[in-house]
């Protein structure tokens, strides 16, 4: 059943615009709580009794009924509703006695009346009638004029008009031939208590007055036009004569005359609520004596205990639980102490799988309702603790295995934090929460409290810049994806709380973010109206008045105009505060670029890569400056140091650290050989199946080799399958087993079972086992996994982290949306393609260094020759440089020779460079010089 049909059946109307009285069938005189409850019960019972009572429409209606009931059950709200009801009634009651029942009247203009008595007026007339009433803001003098005008326009007689007014709820709110259910709305029930409300003569007199006013207006208009036709030319002539003959006007006067008039005040949009009693910055204090005592006891017991007993486990649980709940209110020393005690206890007690699982589960328990304030606080702490544990070098193997599982649960999406420190990991967890929390704003009643808790966590683990960044990111997401601010109180409160973490006038990041919102089409004008209204009402940004409030119907042009005003307000505020006038984006960029180009070239690959990234940041900023986005460029450059620091600190946690084999290596193999000698197949099989319970996680080299041998060559076939299944199921994290399996594989001996097992182990897709590439790919997958588990792939993780950052910086210079994560070479290729797009319409007489077609082919050839990841990035980097030269020489032909020399010297320097990282730096610096030329600044000599 459709929602309309359901409403019709239960409420007797399809309209969704009826008030709580009409919805529940109550009147102001009969709306005491027991009336309300009776009405609700009755309506809900009717809904329940019908078929399809559990569908969405029924649920929606139930919610609506409950909402109306909750309004009427609230004494304050009920009083307000009743007052409104009476006010409207009094305003209507200024006319004649209430007419008799509307059904007794007939429309005099021939509008047919339906069987139920509802008049049958043209829809356009009814629409105009309602519009007139609504736009006048209720039943008042203005409404009368407009309604009468609407009647006159549609040729409705006075009686019919009165009839239409009195029966409007019937005709608008119900379909034809439907009886009106519930009391008539107050606005049209003026005569309910016998008081005069509106009579026909009143209506007719207003109608006549309206007709007369219209005639008068027409005459006045014609007279005005006639006068204007005569007076305006004369006035122009007089002004011209005065201007020519008279003295020059005083510039000051002219300026005063030209000063724009004060902007028209607009009605203030709904603004954001304040966040009183919602203290974001929690006061911190040392650990309480009781809790410090618990930690002390735990430390002592764990040091003394040889195994994990129940008492110690309880102590650990108590410390972990309290830590999860209260870590934010502990000072730094307290948090440190808590971490140390828990980690030490895990070291001492997590010696077997079961103990490790118990302890780690207490640190990171399952949380079905993690979005509750306590839940998300605990979750952030759990992730921080797991990160700390992941970085512990000598953690017992069982604990590492369990920690790894928990860690993967939290970092399954997004880029995991590579730093092992608590704060960074907690920030990562908090960032991951943004999307679900934004989603919860619309549906969770406690969403605001959760957001407050989230902000408290953020401020605890972040410096001001980081906290501001997260707050701005959340605010943007809320504006883009959250509910309409003008209708959602909780969304408004959340936004106000987030704004409290932002330094609007002192932070470039905040300015850029706010300006960007004005450009963001997914942020509605309605939401901007609320934001701008908040800015004006709180005086967050000086110099903005009501005229800055974004109209809810603002188009792109108006938004751009207001964005400009916002930028000007900041500039003016800066100058008023005595700050030096901001240099243009270009000057600022050139100043910084010059400094970078004269820095000495570093020595180690890592340092060179950092230097390259720094230059790359500036090249990306140049692209933004060129695109007229100096604020974004400034924002980008302001984040260089922190992003570099993050990347340099990044040493990916070692999830793959080799686990120490447990048990005497080879004992199991001896038993297996014995069973094999006795041809005890069942025993052999059981030995393989029981192996994981005897030796968990990893095998020693002897057992690993024997098990791998069985998996590859075991007889009979089902023995192989059992071994493969055991490896895939229990030793997928055991590097010894995987390496043995890889090293014992023989070409041309593939089978489907083996392939499937390797896919399970490595989670990589393999070619068909009959494919000639299968052996190479399958073996490589196993080797990669083994190397990863041994930590071999993380040996120089900082280089990978910096490479990722380089890719991100290249992505930043793309003036369009790009995939969230890009390989460095892909990012450089996209950058090249962007230059090509710019170059395509250009037709230089002497293209430098070659035609666009040739540049593209050269790029492809370079990328094919330099087929390793660093070389491929360099190939596209060089292609970008060539394309940039092509564009710049086309735009500035006079600089052609300068650019040609630049390319030549770059080639020579590349050839003389010590390593690939230095080559990346040389190419990136050359690109900076091209940008300098493009900005009109002669490229500096030297400095490569």
């Amino acid at each position: 059943m459709t929602p309309e049909a359901l409403r019709l059946e239960i409420l007797g109307t399809t309209s969704g615009r009826i008030g709580p009285f009409a919805l529940l069938g109550l009147t102001p005189d009969r709306c005491e709580p027991h009336h309300v409850r009776t009405a609700v019960d009755s309506l809900l019972a009717r809904i329940d009794a019908r078929a399809g009572s559990d569908d969405a429409a029924a649920d929606a209606l139930r919610r609506e009924i409950r909402a109306a009931a909750s309004l009427l059950l609230n004494a304050e709200a009920r009083r307000a509703l009743i007052d409104d009801y009476h006010k409207v009634r009094q305003s209507v009651a200024a006319g004649s006695p209430a007419p008799a029942a509307p059904a007794a009247r007939a429309g005099s203009n021939g509008s047919a009346r339906t069987a139920s008595g509802a008049p049958n007026y043209p829809p356009a007339f009814l629409r105009d009638l309602l519009a007139a009433w609504v736009s006048a803001g209720g039943w008042n003098g203005k409404a009368r004029h407009r309604i009468i005008a609407a009647g006159a326009q549609h040729g409705v007689s006075g009686e019919a008009l009165l009839d239409a007014i009195l029966t409007m709820p019937v005709t608008l709110a119900t379909p034809r031939d439907t009886p009106l259910v519930g009391p008539p709305p107050a606005a049209f029930a003026g005569g309910l208590d016998g008081a005069p409300a509106l009579n026909v003569s009143d209506v007719l007199s207003y109608r006549d007055a309206h007709e007369a006013a219209k005639r008068n207006l027409f005459v006045a208009m014609m007279a005005f036009l006639a006068c204007a036709a005569i007076v305006v030319p004369f006035a122009v002539w007089v002004f011209f004569q005065i201007n020519v003959a008279g003295p020059k006007p005083d510039p000051a006067v002219t300026a005063a005359l030209n000063t724009p008039t004060a902007p028209i005040k607009r009605p203030a949009a709904p603004t954001l609520p304040t966040i009183e009693n919602e203290n974001i910055n929690l006061p911190v204090s040392p650990l309480s004596q009781t809790f410090a005592g618990v930690l002390e006891q735990l430390d002592r017991d764990s040091a003394a205990a040889s195994t994990l007993d129940q008492t110690t486990l309880n102590l650990f649980a108590s410390a972990a639980t309290q830590g999860r709940k209260q870590w934010m209110v502990f000072d730094g020393a307290g948090r440190e102490r808590l971490r140390d005690v828990l980690v030490s206890a895990i070291y001492r007690l997590g010696r077997d799988q079961a103990s490790a699982a118990s302890l780690v589960s207490l640190l990171d328990p399952e949380q079905p309702r993690w979005m509750a304030p306590d839940g998300l606080t605990g979750r952030a702490w759990s992730v921080g603790m797991l990160a700390v544990l992941m970085r512990e070098p000598d953690l017992p193997a069982p604990v590492r295995s369990v920690v790894e599982q928990h860690w993967r649960r939290h970092v399954s999406t997004g880029a995991p934090p590579r730093s092992g420190d608590f704060d960074a990991a907690a920030r990562f967890a908090l960032r991951e929460m943004i999307t679900p929390l934004v989603g919860a704003v619309t549906i969770e009643s406690g969403a605001v409290e959760s957001w407050i808790a989230w902000l408290q966590c953020v401020t605890t683990v972040s410096d001001k810049d980081q906290a501001e960044g997260l707050a701005l990111e959340s605010a943007r997401q809320l504006l883009v994806e959250g509910p309409d601010l003008s209708t959602s109180d909780s969304a408004g409160r959340v936004l106000a709380a987030l704004f409290s973490a932002v330094r609007w006038n002192d932070s470039t990041a905040a300015r850029s973010a706010l300006l960007a919102w004005w450009d963001e089409p997914r942020i509605s004008a309605d939401d901007l109206a609320v934001v701008s209204s908040w800015i004006v009402s709180t005086g967050a940004i000086p110099g903005l008045d009501d005229s800055f409030i974004v109209p809810t119907d603002a188009g792109a042009e108006q938004r751009a105009e207001l964005r400009q005003r916002l930028a000007e307000a900041w500039a003016a505020a800066g100058q008023a505060a005595g700050a030096a006038p901001a240099r243009t984006g270009i000057d600022d960029w050139i100043f910084r670029a010059d400094r970078l180009l004269t820095e000495p070239v570093r020595v180690t690959p890592e340092e060179l890569l950092v230097q390259t990234i720094n230059v790359a940041f500036h090249n990306s900023a140049a692209a933004l400056v060129w695109a007229g986005r100096p604020e974004d460029a400034a924002l980008l450059l302001s984040g260089v140091e922190s992003r570099l620091a993050d990347a340099r600190l990044a040493t990916e946690v070692d999830p793959g650290r080799a686990q120490a084999p447990i048990g005497g290596d080879g004992e199991w193999a001896v038993q297996y050989f014995r069973a094999a000698k006795n041809n005890d197949r069942e025993g052999m099989k059981q030995l393989i199946e029981r192996l994981p319970s005897d030796i968990a996680g990893e095998l020693g080299p002897i057992n690993a080799a024997v098990l791998a041998d069985i998996a590859l060559n075991g007889q009979p076939r089902d023995m192989r399958d059992v071994a493969l299944d055991t490896i895939a199921g229990s030793y997928a994290s055991g590097p010894n087993v995987l390496l043995a399996l890889a090293d014992k594989m023989i070409p041309d001996r593939s089978d489907g079972e083996l392939s499937a097992a390797i896919e399970r182990i490595t989670t990589e897709d393999l070619p068909d086992p009959r494919d000639e590439q299968w052996y190479r790919v399958a073996r490589l997958a196993l080797l990669r996994r083994a190397a990863y588990l041994r930590g071999a792939l993380n040996a120089n993780a900082v280089i990978d982290s910096l490479g990722d950052l380089l890719a991100a910086v290249y992505a930043d210079r793309l003036l369009r949306t790009t995939p969230s994560s890009l390989d460095p070479a892909e990012a450089a290729k996209l950058s090249f393609e962007q230059w090509v797009e710019v170059a395509r319409p250009m037709q230089p007489i002497a293209p430098l260094p070659a035609t666009l077609h040739q540049i593209t082919h050269r790029a492809a050839i370079r990328a094919a020759v330099l087929d390793d990841p660093i070389g491929r990035f360099h190939a596209w980097q060089m292609a970008t440089l060539e394309a940039a030269c092509y564009v710049t020489s086309s735009e500035r032909p006079a600089a052609r020779q300068e650019l040609a020399d630049l390319l030549d010297s770059t080639t020579q320097r590349l050839a003389a460079s010590r390593n690939a990282m230095e080559q990346l730096l040389i190419a990136e610096r050359a690109l900076t010089k091209v940008w300098e030329v493009r900005f009109g600044q002669a490229a500096r000599g030297g400095g490569f």
């Binding site: 050989f673 002897i702 594989m745 023989i746 190397a787 910096l802 040739q854 050269r858 330099l866 660093i870």
Partner: protein, 311 residues
């Protein structure tokens, strides 16, 4: 058979497309020579070299072609490099193709690939050769195959199976090149091969790691044999259950990283790639690099008294 035929056809087409070696005149070959080829042929090579002058780069180029015919490849290389140096616009591309052919004869496929790529970069035509046409993809496939073979060989070596390791490695230009790369990081691959020759497998357990108890010969009941405790089998007492050479954990990590990076190609991480080549500088595909590649001093441009000197 078909593959050989295709390879031959490709080689012929490549020769035909190479102006210098297909005996087509180079871009400026149409210019009149000072003396006829017959006269030139009558002179010794030394005498003809002494006639060369930087003002006539074409003579260098033509003599370079003759040097190839006389199998004087080093001399030919110098002449082509000098011709390209004197007049890159006219002789650069042709010199690269000629040098590529020389490298092909020398069996140095990577150098050949780089030179052909450089020739393609120098093409002033709008129709530039695709990477496939330049044989780059084939070279990459060859490289991948070689990397896989080397990795297999190392795998068997790790398992102490010298016999299989030796059988797995097919020595050719690509594998030798990779072996050289490997040597930069881990020492000579020759040493590994030497070990494999001397240690085909554990002589006692034949790499099974477990042997019958030499004391009771696998016939003891539980608790009866002092050596095996009645288990009937023991861990090999010669190799200790781990046949082959002991590899330090850090070396093993580096070896794995090397293998993974080599075989992953473009997909390798930057750090893995750095472990393979220590971030060695990438070749710069530019004509001006030819003298550097061949370590030829291009200031010594004239031949006098049996040696190259400055004019």
């Amino acid at each position: 058979m078909q593959r050989a035929l295709i390879t031959t056809l490709c080689a012929m087409l490549l020769l035909a497309a190479t102006p210098s070696l297909a005996q087509e005149p180079p871009p400026a070959a149409a210019a009149p020579a000072e003396s006829s080829p017959a006269d030139q042929g009558a002179l010794s090579m030394d005498a003809r070299l002494e006639q060369l002058s930087p003002s006539d780069p074409e003579a260098y180029f033509l003599l370079g072609e003759e040097a190839i015919d006389e199998a004087q490849l080093d001399l030919a290389v110098r002449l082509f490099v000098l011709a390209a140096r004197f007049d890159g616009d006219r002789f650069g591309r042709s010199a690269c193709l000629a040098l590529a052919e020389i490298e092909k004869r020398r069996g140095r496929s990577m150098e050949e690939r780089d030179l052909r790529s450089l020739a393609a970069l120098l093409s002033d035509s709008e129709t530039v050769e695709s990477p496939e046409a330049l044989g780059l993809k084939e070279a990459e496939r060859e490289f991948r195959r070689a990397a896989s073979l080397l990795s297999s060989m190392l795998g068997f070596y790790r398992q102490g199976d010298g016999q299989k390791a030796l059988a797995a490695l097919e020595l050719n230009d690509a594998t030798q090149r990779l072996a050289k790369e490997f040597g930069r990081s881990f020492g000579s691959i020759g040493q590994i091969m030497s070990f494999c020759r001397n240690y085909p497998r554990c002589p006692t357990c034949r790499n099974e790691r477990i042997i019958k108890c030499p004391s009771c010969h696998g016939g003891a009941s539980p608790g009866q044999c002092a050596l095996c405790g009645g288990q009937q089998f023991i861990i090999c007492n010669i190799c200790g259950g781990e046949p082959g050479e002991r590899i330090a954990p850090t070396d093993l990590d580096s070896m794995l990283l090397f293998e993974v990076a080599l075989q992953s190609g473009e997909q390798a991480s930057w750090s893995a790639r750095m472990a393979v080549d220590q971030a060695r500088a990438r070749p710069v595909l530019d004509l001006s690099m030819l003298p550097r590649w061949y370590e030829i001093n291009t200031t010594l441009t004239v031949y006098r008294d049996g040696q190259w000197t400055m004019p």
